[in-house]
Structures are given as C-alpha cells and as structure tokens.
C-alpha cells in the first residue's frame, strides 16, 4: 500500500468521521422544528450540546488533510464549488451560533428565530454536502489544468440534488436515533415513533439514488462491473441499517445508534471503493480527472503527514471516547444547559 492510497483512506476516514458525528448533530437540527414544546427542543439541543463542536472539527481536519495531502483536489473543488461552499459555510455558522444564542432569552420570537436558524442551517448544510458529493460522483467538467469549467447552475443538476435529498434523509434518520438514545419519556416516545418511517424513507431514497447512478454515471456502472464486491459492501450497509428497527423495537437505542454509525461507515466505504483512484472525476473528459497520484503532495509530505496522523489520531480518539463516556446517559437540563 503506497502513501497515496494511505492518504486516500485517511482523508476518507476523516470525512466519514465527520459524516457520522456531525451527521447526528445536523439530523437533530433538522428534526428540531418538528418538536413543539420548548423543554423538548432544549433537550434535543442539549443532547448534542457538549459534542457538536468537537464533531465539526472532523470537517476542519478533513479539509486540512485534503489540503495537505491532495492540494490539487482541494483547490479544484473549493474554487469550483465556490457558491455552494459559501452557502454551506453560512449555514454552518447559523447552525453553530443558534445553539449558543437560542436559550439566552426567554422570549418566544427570539427562540423561534434561532430555532429556525438552527433547523434551516442544519438542513441546508446536510443538503449542500450531499449536492457536493453528488457532483463529485457524477463528475465535473475539468480542463487540462484541472480547473473547474462548469457553472453554479450546472452543479444543481437533478442527480446531485437527489443525493442532497438522500443525505438529508440519512442524517435525519441518524439524528433521530441519537436523540432517542439521549432522551427519555414523552420526547423519546415521539422520536422513536418516527424512526421506522425515517428508515423507510432513507432506504427508498438510497435505492432510487443507486438506480439513478447506474443510469446517469456509466463510469460508475463500469467500475462496479470490474469490482463486483462493491455490491456486496452496499448490501451489508443496507442490512446494517435494516437492523436498526429491530434494536429500536427491543429498546436498545445504543445498539441502534451503533448500527446507524456502522451503516454510514460501510456506505462511505462503498463510495471509496467505487471512486478509487479518482479524487475528482472529470466529465465529459475523463483524461483530465484528478487522481490520488496527480493530485497529491510529494511523497515526503505524505510521509511527514502520516507521522503526524499516527501520533495525533490515536490521542484524539482516546480523549474523544473519554469525553463521550463522561457525557453518557440521558440528557438532563441544568443551569449550564443551552
């Protein structure tokens, strides 16, 4: 395994970590307006209260790792997707500060305003992440210098939007399972009631999206023919998701949540296995694609970065686990809560 492949996997791990961890934050945000009682909204907000900030760091570090390991891909995607990324940033800002500001005043209009900002920011973030991913899968027009030659409107194609919707449903399902795990009583009962439906919606969307992929992206179809094991990975992912209703039925929310996390990881794995060795697939001219070789930093930098990752990541995982352990159990409101 060479350094380029190692970094392809590591960047993938960081972005998967982001999807799994901030995925439930964003999902909880999307569900926020669907619960009406102020106490319930505060409980949902505080269930992600201590951890959302650390979860968002996975995106920052994933972005940094992409910059360091594959600067060409970082430069192409971020300058090419200029407007969607600016909107994503604004959405993430609203999501973040709404958590901080919402409960600072008791007034109805104040809370409602920040609730809308929180839910809207979460929804838009999830949607735009999906749209960006959709374009990456489908391929974007690149020229010989790897510069993006498409338009903003071109990025909002039906295929990308369909992955945007699928991502929103995935995060909503994931967030509902997390909130069900962290709450009790009336609120938990309500959220639990939503989970089977959300799983159904997500799986339907995921299935349709994959069918759409086979029609829209011949290069993906070709790859899957060459690597049939990808279908196996995807089937495992779907089965893991289907395990969630069983665990919920038995009242084992933690195991349901783990299943959801694992399912997401497997689906991201399937994406990585399909997409390899591309970093940014060029369509209609595949010769201009950025791969893990022509987009990468020098071997020396990849080596230095690997040392940094080998020192840093285990420490990060160790204390992140400790912190989740400290904040285990049902969320309770106290004077420190949001």
């Amino acid at each position: 395994m060479d350094l380029n492949l190692t970094w392809f996997i590591l960047v993938g791990v960081l972005l998967t970590g982001y999807a799994i961890l901030d995925g439930f934050d964003l999902g909880a945000g999307i569900l926020h307006l669907f619960v009406k009682k102020d106490e319930h909204r505060r409980l949902m907000l505080n269930s992600i209260g201590p951890v959302w900030d650390g979860n968002e760091v996975w995106l920052v570090t994933g972005g940094g790792a992409l910059f360091a390991a594959f600067p060409e891909a970082y430069a192409t995607v971020f300058s090419g997707f200029y407007i969607p990324f600016m909107l994503l940033l604004a959405a993430l800002i609203f999501r973040a500060v709404a958590i901080e500001f919402r409960s600072k005043e008791p007034w109805g209009w104040w809370r409602q305003m920040w609730d809308v900002a929180f839910a809207g920011g979460s929804f838009l973030s999830a949607f735009l992440i999906g749209v960006a991913m959709g374009n990456i899968v489908r391929g974007v027009p690149l020229d010989a210098e790897f510069e993006f030659r498409g338009t903003f409107v071109g990025l909002l194609n039906p295929y990308a939007i369909s992955l945007g919707v699928t991502t929103v449903l995935l995060f909503t399902m994931h967030g509902a399972i997390y909130v069900a795990m962290k709450t009790e009583g009336e609120l938990q009962a309500r959220i639990r009631g939503w989970i089977p439906g959300l799983i159904g919606w997500f799986l339907a969307a995921y299935f349709l999206f994959n069918l759409y992929t086979l029609v829209e992206c011949p290069h993906v179809l070709e790859t899957v023919r060459e690597r049939p094991y990808i279908l196996g990975i995807m089937a495992i992912g779907a089965f893991i998701i289907l395990n969630i209703p069983r665990e919920i039925h038995h009242g084992r929310e933690f195991r349901a949540f783990l299943s959801s996390c694992l399912g997401m990881a497997v689906m991201m794995g399937a994406f990585g296995a399909t997409y390899f060795p591309n970093m940014v697939y060029s369509f209609p001219d595949p010769a201009n694609s950025l791969t893990i070789y022509n987009a990468a930093s020098s071997q020396k930098t990849l080596g230095i970065m690997l040392i940094i990752a080998l020192i840093g990541v285990p420490i990060v995982l160790a204390y992140t686990t400790c912190i989740y352990y400290i904040f285990r159990g049902k969320t309770k409101l106290s004077s420190h809560s949001y």
């Binding site: 995106l59 430069a75 971020f78 300058s79 600016m86 800002i93 901080e100 930093s297 230095i304």
Partner: protein, 506 residues
C-alpha cells in the same frame, strides 16, 4: 473592481471578523487556568465563582471563533486556488497539524470545561481547562507558523512537473506566469519550515497580543462593576488577577515587539522601511512617533526621534538603515528584468513596494496603542501600590476606571492593525519573494461570485456581531453567581470550599 482586489477584500473582511474572537479565547483561556488554580489552591469560593463567570464569557467568544474559523480554512481553496496548488505541499501540513493536534484538543475538552462542572471532579475539570488553554495556544502556533512561512519561506525547494515527472528547480528560479500550474513548492525539511526565520518571533508576538486581549477584557468588566458598585468582592479579585496578567503580558509584549521588528528588518527590509516611511537609506535613521508617509513625494513627515530606528534595529545610532529607494536591491531586480536599463529599474522597483502610507499608519497605530496600554498598566500598578486601585470617590479614580473600561478596545485594535501592517507590508507578495498575490487568486471564480459571498458574509457577520454584543452586555449585566449556594454543586466540589480563606481575602 478586479478579482484580485475583491478576493483580498473578502479574505481580509472574514479574517478580521474572525480575529476578534480567537485572541479572547486564548487570553481568557489562560486566565481561566490561573483562576481555577487559585481556587484549587486556596479553596476560596470567590475564585470558583470567578472561574465560572469567565467561563461563560469564554464560551461565547469561543463559539463565534469556531463558527467563523471554518470559513478561513475553506477560503484558501475558494479564493486562492492557484496559491493552494502552489504551496499545498508545505502550507497544508501546518494546517492539518493544527486540526489534529490543536482543534480537537480544545473543542473536545471544551465539553468538560463548559458542561462538566457538575459531572467531573475538580481536578479533572482543571485538567480540561488546561487542555483547552493549551489547545488554543497550540492552534495559534500552527497557524502563525503557516503564515510566517509566507513571510519568510524556508525548508522547501521549487519543483516543476515535466511530462508527469517532478524536476527540481534551482533556488534562484523566478516563478513566471507560465509556471503556474506546473511549478510548486515542495517540502525539504519539516522543522526548517516550522522554525522558519520569522516564526518564533511572530508566534510570541501574536500570543502576547492575545493575552493582552483577554487581560484587558477582564480589567474592563471588573472596572465597570467597581464603578457601578456591583459585585464588589468579585470585581476587586478579578481586577487584581486581570491586572497582574495585563502587566506581565504588556511588559513582555514590549520586548517581543522589539524582537519582531528586528526580525522584520533582517528578513523583510522593505516592510520595515514601509512601516517607518523610510524612503532614503540613511545613517542615524529616525523613528517616527507620529506622522505620515507621502507616496507621491516619496517622503515621510512627522515627529521624529533621530537615530532611534538605527539604534532599535542594529543597536547602533550611526548604522544606516536601508530605505525604499534601494529596496529591493538592484541584483534582485536585474535577475528578474535582465534587459532593463537603470531608469527602468527605478520604475520597476516601485512595483515591489507595498502601500507605504497604509502600512505606516497601521504600524504606528499598533505601536501607539501599545504604548498607551503600557502607561495605563503602569498607572494602575502605581495606584495599587498606593492602595488607590479600588477607589471610586474621587473624580480621578472614576476617570481611571473609565479608562480601564475602554482599554478593552486597545488590544483588539492593535491586534488588527498589527496584522494589517504584517500582511499589507508583505505585498505585492503572497509568499515573500516567491509568488505574487496577483498570480495567486482562483482563476475560475468571477467578481460576481466574490461580491455575492462578500454581501452574504457582511450580512451574517453584522447580525452575529450585534447579537454577540447584546449577549455579552447581558452576561455582564447579570454578573457572577453565588455558585457555592447552588444545590447542583456536587460533594467533591463542595468539600474544597474553605470559608476562612474567603473571609481572610475579604
């Protein structure tokens, strides 16, 4: 306006707004460590309440700092994609190290700092506070390393892609327009990159600026309570902690400023000449106390102290300091323009100067505020020594407290002005003497795109700032709580309280 200027304005606007907050998190973070350490040592509940109160202020600044910080990380790619391709091999690793080593640390342990008061024991909580503070300092370190590499690049070589194979270029290679896309900087030595010639000076300077931002915020709010006769015990104790912190930070900043300026003189002489508006090379070069640089007449005017610039730079009043009219030197220009005649070289040279009047003013604004804060801290310590620090019954003492209240703006303005001097002083380069800013912006991003994002962020940040000020005012108005009376306080914390310590202090 062209894309380059718009991209610069947009980046400057977002980084300026972002930079209101991280210095406060760094400075307050260290203050929290100090307060909690005193609380653990003495058991005086006053310091416990103090730590909790400043944690709430800290949380507010931290949240906005995080929210606005993500923008910065993406903007290298969105606005400066040519730059990102060119330096990613070197610059990216510092940024990634910042994420892995620093951001995770601060945001992870922040959970315990903010929400762990009643969940973990006092020692673990103190440890979390230390980790948050350490993480905040460490993140500043990595980002200033990355920026310093742009000021004084080191530990790299240039490499050109020829038919898919990298070819090493000689150090004197000049990056031309058709090199963009195929030439990039590649790392040679990681530690040389990290400890590039300006990084240590600048990290210390930036961190001390951040300490001052935190310390003067504490002074300001404490002075406000004193003046209003509210929470007096808290205000007196906080003022003392804040004053010691501010004194140490301000004194060290004087030393650090001297080191940093000497480093600039050595590494970026054009920047130094621009900061002082020094057009002619001269012995006994003067230091402007206040003044202006006239870029059409190519002269500076103002109140000057003769010889002081030479002395501060070289420790020798007589030694000449190079002026802009000799910078960059002829050899540097002739290598780039071998055909140019001597008069043409004179004209080309001006294209390698930054905006001298602006750099001059930003630099002098920073220095003037620094000196003013030094005087304020000296007066405060004098009044403390005489036992007048907490007086409010005379007009002078009230005036003094009012000055302390306003002093919170000092480090904020000085920090911003200092960064303006540093970044504008580096122009026309984005990476000093290697890549020009005019070569570095994203080719595929149009002016309309940037105007759109500028309007978007102007709107979002105006709203954020208004809410920030509102909530900060409210938190100040609410004041500290008597936490030791709270039934939520767990046994392990309650056992630490020593009432006698509180009485002794009072």
């Amino acid at each position: 306006m062209d894309v380059e200027i718009l991209a610069r304005i947009q980046f400057a606007f977002t980084i300026m707004f972002h930079y209101i907050y991280p210095p406060l998190s760094i400075g307050l973070g260290l203050a929290l460590v100090i307060m909690e350490a005193i609380w653990l040592k003495t058991g005086n509940p006053l310091y416990h309440n103090m730590a909790r109160y400043w944690t709430r202020i800290f949380a507010l600044t931290f949240a906005i700092g995080v929210a606005t910080g993500i923008v910065m990380e993406f903007e290298f790619g969105t606005n400066w994609s040519v730059y990102s391709r060119f330096v990613g091999d070197v610059f990216g690793s510092a940024l990634a190290a910042e994420g892995i080593f620093a951001f995770f640390l601060e945001s992870g342990f922040l959970a315990i700092l903010l929400f762990g008061w009643n969940k973990v024991g006092p020692k673990l909580h103190f440890f979390a506070t230390c980790m948050v503070c350490f993480g905040a300092h460490f993140s500043a370190l990595w980002i200033v390393v990355a920026n310093s590499w742009m000021q004084t690049p080191a530990g790299y070589h240039l490499e050109k892609m020829v038919d898919g194979h990298p070819v090493r270029l000689p150090p004197e290679h000049v990056v031309a327009a058709d090199d963009l896309g195929s030439v990039r900087a590649v790392i040679d030595n990681f530690w040389e990159m990290v400890f590039n010639p300006s990084s240590m000076d600048r990290i210390i300077h930036v961190l001390l600026g951040a300490w001052m931002a935190g310390a003067f915020l504490i002074l300001s709010i404490s002075a406000y309570y004193l003046l209003r006769h509210r929470h007096l015990d808290f205000a007196r104790a906080s003022l003392k902690v804040g004053l010691v912190f501010a004194t140490v930070a301000t004194l060290l900043q004087m030393v650090s400023g001297d080191f940093t300026a000497k480093g600039v003189a050595k590494n970026q002489p054009i920047k130094l000449a621009a900061m002082e508006g020094l057009y002619e090379t001269q012995a006994y070069a003067p230091l402007n106390v206040i003044g202006w640089a006239d870029s059409t007449r190519e002269q500076d005017f103002g109140l000057k102290i003769p010889g002081l610039l030479s002395f501060l730079t070289y420790g020798d009043f007589a030694r000449p300091v190079a002026g802009l009219k000799e910078l960059p030197p002829d050899e540097f220009l002739q290598r780039r323009y071998p055909e140019a005649t001597a008069p043409e070289i004179e004209e080309i040279r001006r294209g390698y100067w930054p905006n001298v009047p602006a750099v001059f003013q930003f630099y002098h604004l920073m220095i003037s505020i620094g000196v003013a804060l030094f005087v304020l801290v000296a007066v405060a310590n004098f009044r403390w020594w005489r036992g007048w620090l907490f007086n409010t019954h005379t007009k002078w003492s009230r005036l003094f407290l009012a000055a302390l209240i306003l002093s919170v703006l000092g480090p904020q303005i000085a920090n911003q002005a200092g960064w303006f001097a540093a970044e504008m002083g580096r122009q026309p380069w984005i990476v000093y003497e290697l890549l020009k800013t005019s070569q570095a912006f994203s080719r595929v991003v149009t002016a309309e795109h940037i105007v759109f994002s500028l309007i978007l962020f102007a709107f979002v940040y105006a709203l954020l700032f208004a809410v920030f000020i509102y909530i900060l005012t409210r938190k100040i108005h609410h004041g500290p709580d008597e936490e030791e009376e709270s039934p939520e306080m767990p046994e392990s914390w309650r056992n630490l309280i020593r009432r006698d310590a509180a009485r002794a202090e009072a």
